[in-house]
């Protein structure tokens, strides 16, 4: 049901925007082209930031430093009855969207999408976004260098999201 609705969203959106444009006598094609042209500038300012972030994050991930962190924190997680399997995902979700999605894929394969771990992973992935990526992209595109408290605020929002995901899945989907 929901996936059918979401299949209609994009086509309907396009129809409404273009249809309304014609109704308001906008030169829809010309306006479309001039809008699409703006993407060149955006892509050129974005690329160096994206490259830098991917470079830094990948080197860090390849060193497996996070594995040592997992081992250190494992006792605390056992105490809180949070499955250790979900842990890499929790740490990676704010850093790299594609890595956390890859981990979610693995969780589905190993435990199944309807297992507790599978559900918890789904909710974590679905309820937060990749803070580092958004920060790099959005601030990079307009040349912001001093980000002030934005990283802290973004990460706190992620932590709140992950903690509430754990509590909610425990309460409603366990």
């Amino acid at each position: 049901m929901i996936e059918q609705i979401s299949n209609f969203i994009i086509p309907l959106l396009v129809l409404i925007v273009v249809g309304y444009g014609i109704y308001k006598k906008v030169n829809v094609y010309d306006v479309f082209v001039s809008g699409a042209t703006e993407s060149f500038d955006m892509v050129f300012t974005m690329f160096p930031c994206l490259l830098g972030m991917i470079f830094g994050i990948n080197l860090f991930l390849k060193s497996d430093v996070l594995n040592y962190v997992f081992t250190l924190l494992k006792p605390a997680f056992d105490q809180l009855r949070i499955p250790t399997e979900i842990f890499p995902m929790m740490l990676l979700r704010p850093i790299s969207g594609s890595s956390s999605l890859a981990i979610l894929n693995n969780l589905y394969v190993s435990y199944g999408p309807d297992s507790f771990i599978g559900k918890l992973g789904s909710v974590i992935q679905g309820s937060t976004d990749t803070t580092f990526y958004i920060l790099t992209l959005y601030f990079g595109s307009i040349g912001i260098k001093k980000i002030r408290y934005s990283l802290i605020a973004g990460l706190v929002a992620d932590v709140i999201g992950i903690v509430s995901a754990i509590l909610l899945v425990n309460a409603f989907l366990a």
């Binding site: 929901i2 996936e3 979401s6 969203i9 409404i16 925007v17 273009v18 309304y20 444009g21 308001k24 906008v26 829809v28 306006v31 809008g35 699409a36 993407s39 955006m42 892509v43 974005m46 690329f47 994206l50 490259l51 830098g52 972030m53 991917i54 470079f55 830094g56 990948n58 080197l59 991930l61 390849k62 060193s63 497996d64 999605l101 979610l104 894929n105 589905y108 199944g112 999408p113 559900k119 789904s122 992935q125 679905g126 309820s127 937060t128 958004i134 959005y138 601030f139 001093k146 980000i147 934005s150 605020a153 973004g154 929002a157 992620d158 709140i160 999201g161 509430s164 995901a165 899945v169």
Partner: protein, 191 residues
């Protein structure tokens, strides 16, 4: 802050890799990251161009203005520093709307344009303004109502009830958005 974190990632990554005897992995990864960033930008580029074009029609026809007028009472509270009727409000509104439906690809160009528009209001061009940070928090907490990607992934792996997680996702995203906004307000006032 980003400078320190980026530096930390690289220094720690390289040193640990060398100490654990993974120099090959390191060499490979240094080359690989250039490739994956190019792949990423090539994937984003046409999608962005398309949505920027579509969005331009919505701007010219006044559709975006209608949307932002509808959301204005809420946005005014969240973004007290943006003057009424400023273009950035309608862009923020469209970014949030696209995010709600899980349309990340459409949300990104709206978000980038919104940032550009917020930059016009910014006095110090190299420093993030309060409104920019609030907008960023709204995006990182991921205001999603229909998590399209997750649902399709769950279907792919044979879930009996792929949409079962939707309710929990909405609640979790709501809590993290509200929590994030509160933290943002506190931090903004402190500095």
């Amino acid at each position: 802050m980003v400078n320190k974190i980026w530096g930390f990632f690289i220094v720690v990554g390289v040193i640990v890799c060398i100490l654990t005897g993974k120099v090959d992995v390191l060499n490979n990864e240094i080359l690989e990251s250039t490739k994956s960033s190019l792949d990423m930008i090539i994937k984003i580029f046409p999608v962005m161009a398309l949505w920027l074009g579509i969005m331009n029609i919505a701007t010219e026809s006044g559709l975006l203005n209608k949307l932002s007028n509808a959301l204005f009472p809420i946005l005014k509270k969240i973004f007290p520093e943006i003057p009424a009727g400023h273009e950035s409000l309608s862009l923020i509104a469209s970014n949030i709307t696209a995010n709600m439906f899980g349309l990340g690809n459409a949300a990104t160009p709206f978000g980038l344009k919104a940032m550009k528009s917020l930059q016009e209001l910014n006095d110090k061009k190299d420093t993030a303004s309060r409104s920019m940070i609030t907008f960023l928090v709204l995006n990182t907490s991921g205001v999603t109502i229909i998590p399209t990607t997750i649902i399709s992934l769950r279907m792919m792996y044979g879930s009996k009830n792929p949409t079962e997680i939707v309710f929990a996702c909405i609640l979790a995203t709501l809590i993290s958005t509200i929590g994030g906004l509160i933290v943002d307000q506190i931090l903004a006032k402190r500095r």
